[in-house]
């Protein structure tokens, strides 16, 4: 484990494979619900393609951050390839260099040592890697990295189902001058009948532009009660080749 990356272990929500993989909860906001509105057809279409848009983009710049930890904030800044499901970046803990991280859907490899200007070097350093299973239940960081792997799919989802679910529109926003809509993802357990105040802190949020491209994703970690959360920011597609294995592991 990289120094500084020992994170508070938090009970984790299951990583869902898709917005509505096991059937979405249905129902509009109830009378005591926060100010959210159901999705229009067009909003549902945009939210339904966010994961596919990542696959279509291939490699995107990514920053995975974990906040709200007793041990200080952690961030991984690098790239994620949504066609091969490989991520790689340099880590910081409370702003200090914390080594390199390479991860896939089931494996995480870490390497200690400063990275100079902070950018993860390519090709990967040839030694010093330690590899193990990416268990999202092990640490908040592992949970956040696993959430990042879950944001790609080679097929769009069904917008009709999303429109009928309890997924909701929250507000308009901008990111770097791009107009964004912020959506509350559907609840995963299929039992919610209305959007409650607790949904606003327990469910993932998606910042999506007019093409269905996801620019920011936030999710509470665990049941939301600890205050720990993951933020995943996605940048432009880039032409970077990420190795599918790590040297020496």
């Amino acid at each position: 484990m990289i120094r500084g990356l020992r994170a508070t272990s938090v009970a984790l929500a299951a990583v869902t494979l898709a917005l509505c993989a096991a059937g979405c909860a249905t129902g509009a906001a109830g009378p005591d619900s926060p100010q959210v509105t159901g999705l229009t057809t067009e909003q549902a279409e945009r939210l339904a393609v966010t994961r596919f848009r990542n696959f279509d983009a291939g490699v995107r710049e990514i920053t995975v951050s974990v906040g709200g930890l007793d041990t200080g904030d952690i961030a991984v800044d690098g790239w994620y390839d949504y066609t091969t499901h490989i991520g790689y970046g340099s880590a910081t803990s409370d702003g200090a260099d914390a080594g390199l991280i390479w991860w896939s859907t089931d494996t995480i490899a870490t390497r200690e040592g400063a990275t100079g200007d902070g950018a993860a070097p390519l090709p990967l350093p040839g030694d010093g890697w330690q590899s193990g299973t990416l268990d999202p239940k092990s640490t908040s960081l592992a949970n956040a990295l696993a959430l990042a792997t879950n944001l790609g799919s080679d097929r769009p989802e069904n917008p009709q189902l999303l429109a009928q679910s309890d997924a909701a529109f929250l507000e308009k926003d901008t990111i770097d001058g791009t107009d964004i809509e912020v959506f509350l993802g559907p609840s995963a357990d299929g039992t919610a009948e209305s959007t409650s105040a607790s949904d606003l802190t327990s469910r993932a949020r998606y910042w999506v532009d007019s093409t269905g491209t996801l620019l920011r994703f936030e999710s509470p970690l665990g049941d939301g009660s600890t205050g720990a959360s993951a933020t995943i920011e996605l940048g432009d597609p880039v032409d970077v080749a990420l190795p599918t294995t790590v040297p020496g592991t």
Partner: protein, 407 residues
Amino acid sequence: MGTADVVSVPQDAATITEAISLVREGGLVLVDPGTYDESVTVDKNDVTVRGTERNTVIIDGEGLRSNGIQVIASGVRIQNLTVRNHTFNGVLVTGLHDKNGAQAHNLDGYQKLDPQKFPPLERFEVSNVTASNNGLYGIYAFNSGHGVIRDNYASGSADSGFYVGQCADCDILVTGNVAENNAIGYENANASDSVVIAGNRFTNNRVGLTLLSWYQEAYLPQKSATVVGNLIADNNSATSPAQALGAFGIGIGLSGANSNTLERNLIAGNASTGVQLTNTEDLSSTGNQLTGNAFSGNGIDVADVSAARAPSSDTCIDDSSSLAMLPADFADSCGADTTGGATTDELPAVDVPAGLSFLKVTAGPDQPNLAGDLAENPAKLPASVDVPDLATFGLPDRSLLSDLVVR
């Protein structure tokens, strides 16, 4: 209710949707070149929607909208235009629809068709349509009968270029079509009896053609389709979306398929298997006839990989002595039961390339326009399809429709 005999877009109506509201039953909607960012539902009987130039009349889903054209009325023709970049289907023809529009399978939440509640749509034609880069099917007809799918081109479909499903006594003719760079060229699930697939080119997909039974849909089991005079070749495309189950290098797949006739097809250059038989759960593939086909350059020409729980039976292959078979004595099973096929790891090993995004598959070349006077409203579609004499579909060579493909 519309009253116009002919409505031109954009002269008489700004959108195709508006034109359909203005046209009378049995009328003609003529669409001029342009890119139309709308999802069109044709809910009026016997209407023809026709582009005036196939390659430049484009309904574009922009990677966001689900379907290009949904047909939910009887007697509708869709002709001479392009549908592209939809997350699901380019053209969907179905008798299964509700207030939310057409429903389609292979989606989370799809409800199995109840044939009593939703009787099949009757009479349709989709011709000279180019369906490119659609996330499910290019041209899809299910719970529909008495229809023609002719002279279309489909590429870049993440599932199949063409799909006919869920009908008995279907009376559907699929002819003159080209499918390339799709996960599957043509798929036929639970579509039975009078389905004729003749004179098509299904090349450079991951799988060329499938006839199959599928438990999640109505009208089990699949039986008695006729596949004649097609070119089914080189289905080893690396420039296509991935097939959902990872299939690759297969010409024709038969799964729980029964009493189908495969006649005078050229089945060539498929890296894994020319014709592959298997079971669908407990449903065997039985009584399929392979007659007068030509095989060349396939990994294995004919392979039976049925599980022992549902072994194939009564597969009859003429002139089988010249073919590469798996199991080697498979051809001897004609008229007899087998005890199960080979295992899939006995098939030729193929390197399955990563799948492309369906939006990134290169679109095909310009395609030929519908012949005749395009401004003339055609006569109402007949009650049953005028199927040509199948003897006119000879064994093709590799030049069949070769001027219409990317490669």
